[in-house]
Symmetry: C2
Subunit: 501 residues, 2 copies
Amino acid sequence: MTDSNLTRRRFLGTGAATGAAALIPASIAEADTRKTAHKTSRRATARKVDVVVVGAGLAGLQAARTLVAAGKSVVVLEARDRVGGRTKNHALGDNKVVEVGGEFVGPTQDYTLGFAKELGVGTYNAYLPLDSVYINASGQKSNYSGDLPSAGVLGTVDLITIVEQLDNLASQIPVDKPWTWEKAAEYDYATADALVRQLCPADPQGAIDLVNLFFDSAYGGIAAEVSALYVIAQVAGFGDKHNVGTIERGISSQGGAQNSRFVGGSQLLSTRAAEQLGKRVVRNAPVRSIAQSGSTATVTSDAGVWKAKRVIVAVPPALAAEINYAPLMPAIQDAMRRRMTLGTLMKIHAVYETPFWREDPGVWMALKVNGCVPEMFDNTPPEGTPGILMGFHGGHAWRQYANDPAGRKAAALSDFAEAFGERCLKPIDYFEQDWTSEEWSRGCPVSVVGPGVVTEFLPNLIVPFKLVHWAGTETATYWNGYMDGAISSGERAAAEVLAEL
Amino acid sequence: MTDSNLTRRRFLGTGAATGAAALIPASIAEADTRKTAHKTSRRATARKVDVVVVGAGLAGLQAARTLVAAGKSVVVLEARDRVGGRTKNHALGDNKVVEVGGEFVGPTQDYTLGFAKELGVGTYNAYLPLDSVYINASGQKSNYSGDLPSAGVLGTVDLITIVEQLDNLASQIPVDKPWTWEKAAEYDYATADALVRQLCPADPQGAIDLVNLFFDSAYGGIAAEVSALYVIAQVAGFGDKHNVGTIERGISSQGGAQNSRFVGGSQLLSTRAAEQLGKRVVRNAPVRSIAQSGSTATVTSDAGVWKAKRVIVAVPPALAAEINYAPLMPAIQDAMRRRMTLGTLMKIHAVYETPFWREDPGVWMALKVNGCVPEMFDNTPPEGTPGILMGFHGGHAWRQYANDPAGRKAAALSDFAEAFGERCLKPIDYFEQDWTSEEWSRGCPVSVVGPGVVTEFLPNLIVPFKLVHWAGTETATYWNGYMDGAISSGERAAAEVLAEL
């Protein structure tokens, strides 16, 4: 327990022993790191800490920061050779990066904005004052401005009414316990597909085609897969305690969840946090088992064994279920996590010398119904070159091309060309990030729960399993599926643990 | 390769080297077992076989039998300390047993009937010539005869019409490739809940309450969770090449899938098959990883390492996805298997001195809408005593009582008493088998796929992953989810492998 006491003294000394996340002074973090370095080298006997955190994504890192700030000894075991979970920077050379995972931040995402501020990571506008392109199911192309295609280009689909009705439903939901809503079963036993069709009797197929554009990136899925209640609850979470959630805030760029990007790329949030935590973060340490006996949890990873008073599992629920638990977790918790499959989502990037499309045809984003990349964005780094187009490739399109990488590339470039000009067919670089094939994510951006699951299972979502607590964006009330939900969940789980230690 | 050659010679000598399952003469099996016994003891170096089979349920055992009959060397690695997978006998004393897992067999389940015949396992009628009880959502009790509650007791629900329409849809489906049906997307993107409500406009809630009685045991789930196409395809599979699938055959006792039970209990099929395979079956050998390089697969289990030319993974798809594969399986195969979550199902048994209900009130089975055990059966062993009642406890009820074992027991006994008489409140024994809490099943009776999954993923279901082939009841066309589907899938996978060796 020397390590624990040492850590506690040091951090009590900083006056930062609160439950809330606090900036760990870099000098102290470094000193502490050197002291504990030898403890995290490989050895056969179990090391002891107050808390083991499983996963060094934003949830796990913020849990660890909170615990360390409160004077607890912590180890963060990360399966990969990198931190950041579902955020990842791709190097473009010349110190430029582009994000191939979670990327954006916007108003009411105060956990993320605060986290970035503490770590000295700046933001910049992600949108451009240019037109957008909408390509309908028949291939007809129209320009529009603002965040949603205007009524004029949508034919018989009354998107405004659909959005208003969904917002109205979302406003009725208890955001932290959607299963207690009086209409919970009715909407949980229906799919989002069925709900959308019902909301647009004039053109149900047109409505679902349009909505699936957004489901492609939001769930890596199709509306037919998702509980309508889950969608409504997620909309309710597009806000904070002071701002009721709305679809507009969730899907918008200017003033919405895609308002800003991070200077240095979103993964910088995690790498900075991990730097501060120093040797407490152990990479290449997939956790294989968690055994609990009395007041001690024994966590076995490929990098060694740790004994702890509490464990915070901060990985996607479906992966959390794959760890070998002794005893097994309650069956309903296990069955629940197995029902929280992640979406099938890829980000596709094409690189050009310059973002020529900003001049000709003068657009910056595009939507293409039934496209290979149904949502396309100008994702050029803040330096202005190279020009980069990004397309979300998820849901139906992902499955269609899963066994056909050449076809996928050709179709993606064709979509880019249709929206941004013929020159897009000849990129100087092209890369794909398939989150579904990442061993330690198994999908992106978030777990997608089918009909029935919210009411039948999710009341068990954050119930601790003896000494094991649960974090990760899926466990958040606000901004579930976003970086903000990950960070808030880490704080919440750390607070639970601190209350017990 | 000595083992392989030895095995091949022996079995070529029997003239049994065909792709079809063949009875392994017991004397030869025993002799071979002794020869190979030393090879399956624990040791550090890898052993070599032609084929590793993962899982000693009926699928894996039949795959192994087929391969051995064709002269191949085989090891079957079983995670548990027993064989039989989702079948399991519970000892009642005096050499009597009752099944707490898969139990019944009926017409067109020729793989199972043939398997039983080869292994000398007899059958007997599972039904009794007595009335059944139907307790509706208001608690009103009626008696009926035959397999389905008669129209008179169902109020406004026209069950016959619902069944006829579902049978009609099932008759249109290509049973081995439901995703190629012209209406596949339409029905796959809908839930069975939505379909049933549509088929009974006079009383949609009444219809879904009734249908969920059957979904409780058939899927360990509720109709809202399941793709309508998956249900229709499963109905299409309630038959064989000569008999189109019907709901009646699937849910009936007399003349249907629940027609007969096995003398000695259904698990006897697996224990007999395992006896014949002898030391080729290794228990307590959970497979942790499958590495493939060139023409060799290396399978690592808790009982040692085997190298093989081919591997047949014959465990539920969701568990197959948890093995560590190097390289990883194609992402769409992984994402598919993770979407094949097993139902949440328990079998509850109460034991009495005698089956008194056969005399008073003179009934043998019961259905109770929204019950704790919505489907109840007289499950007395063929010897006639003790009297045993069995209730399926799945889906909504399972989730409702997941954290309340005392409440579950009280509610189950209350349901038994309501249907079979007050004396049921005082059993002499009571036991539950919760398949969802079984580490190596994670649910029962079958994987349940949500809307969208059949068309978006299942075309990849039996596509081999390099040297790895797939078996298990979920991969069957006919009787998917039944013992028969497991056995046929084992033969199919073995035939695939034999074509490659």
